[in-house]
Symmetry: C2
Subunit: 216 residues, 2 copies
């Protein structure tokens, strides 16, 4: 499968790209092509050093999307809306995976959903007919980026298109020790999005860091 | 410590009562005193059979509250509001622990918070000056009631009174293999309350049951 990771120079993007690279073609997208190429090169080196064959390229967001079957949106909320506007002409049948969480920080982090109820629904409304799936908001990026650690987290996957949701659940299953869970329709993304600032605040309050979630 | 468990004839009430009974005096409260007495007797027998000394009595909700330092509200949302009205005259310095989740069921469960934002804030507004703490919404009652199982869950505790929150976190720590986490002020209870219907729905969708939550 060909996977574009937009915001792929960030930590979660890095983690997902590296976890999927042994089995898929990865395109790291960024506004800054040089940055995307450098990141892709760095990830490929990490994997090669571990004896893992892979194909990771860095390119522009637009070109990454044109080549992809699946597009991972791992960018801040405001940037994601601008990006989607720019990408609309090259979106056809790709599955969009939203990791987007609208939040602001005062003393603590606060979830600030749009009037649609959550970021994923806002993105879906901007892209009628395109399969938007919401997932990977609450994965510990430190664990995702460290291949020697067991992640032991759950990934809740929400979406209104069952086929697309199934593709994302299968991609999730490929990440060692991560369990995909069907979270229901896209509107339920509100819960997993709002967990993100809650987890950050709770980590700060309790002297923890980089919390993910597991349903036991 | 003297702990009243209102709704103590339900499963979560049973679990908490039995877990705390070895170290505290427990008063099971119910509208139906006979039912409360029978439940208390049953719980005490379970513990005695395991060689654990305990004191668990069944009584009316009002008498249970009069005797208690800590009052656990383990009743449905609508019933909790009526109950609080009745109990107001006997509430003094007790700490109220709200397990209350306002939700309705159509095809799926849906969180239906009051205009205050969550049940715990509604209850706090009804009881100015009383320490309301929100906790234990997402504990697996099957694991809580089965002393041979490791619960391995986290309990998020929210409240605006730091002293009362500390008491509840200490009580939580006494439950084997459960970790208390400070969830912040009472308004954050919205997150842990709304997780309840989400977890029930997710359990149904994924062929699981009785899900709790752990932050990893």
């Amino acid at each position: 499968m060909k996977i574009a990771v937009l915001g792929g120079t960030g930590r979660i993007g890095e983690g997902l790209a590296c976890r999927w690279a042994p089995h898929h073609e990865i395109y790291i997208g960024s506004r800054d092509i040089e940055k995307a190429k450098n990141a892709a090169c760095g990830y490929a080196c990490q994997l090669t050093d571990r004896g893992i064959d892979c194909r990771i390229d860095g390119t522009s967001n637009k070109e990454a999307v044109e080549k992809a079957d699946v597009v991972v949106l791992s960018v801040p909320y405001d940037a994601s809306l601008e990006l989607i506007e720019c990408l609309r002409p090259v979106l056809k049948n790709q599955i969009i995976i939203s990791l987007v969480v609208p939040m602001k920080k005062n003393r603590w982090f606060e979830y600030t959903p749009p009037e649609e109820g959550c970021a994923a629904l806002r993105i879906q409304h901007m892209l009628p007919g395109i399969s938007v799936v919401s997932a990977y908001h609450n994965l510990s990026f430190k664990k995702l980026c460290n291949f020697d650690l067991e992640i032991e987290g759950d990934v809740v996957v929400c979406g209104d298109y069952e086929g697309a949701k199934k593709v994302v659940m299968n991609l999730t299953q490929e990440i060692r020790s991560v369990r995909p869970l069907d979270g229901g329709p896209l509107r339920e993304s509100r819960m997993i999005e709002s967990l993100t600032p809650f987890l950050i605040n709770m980590a700060i309050r309790n002297g923890l860091s980089d919390l993910g979630v597991k349903f036991v």
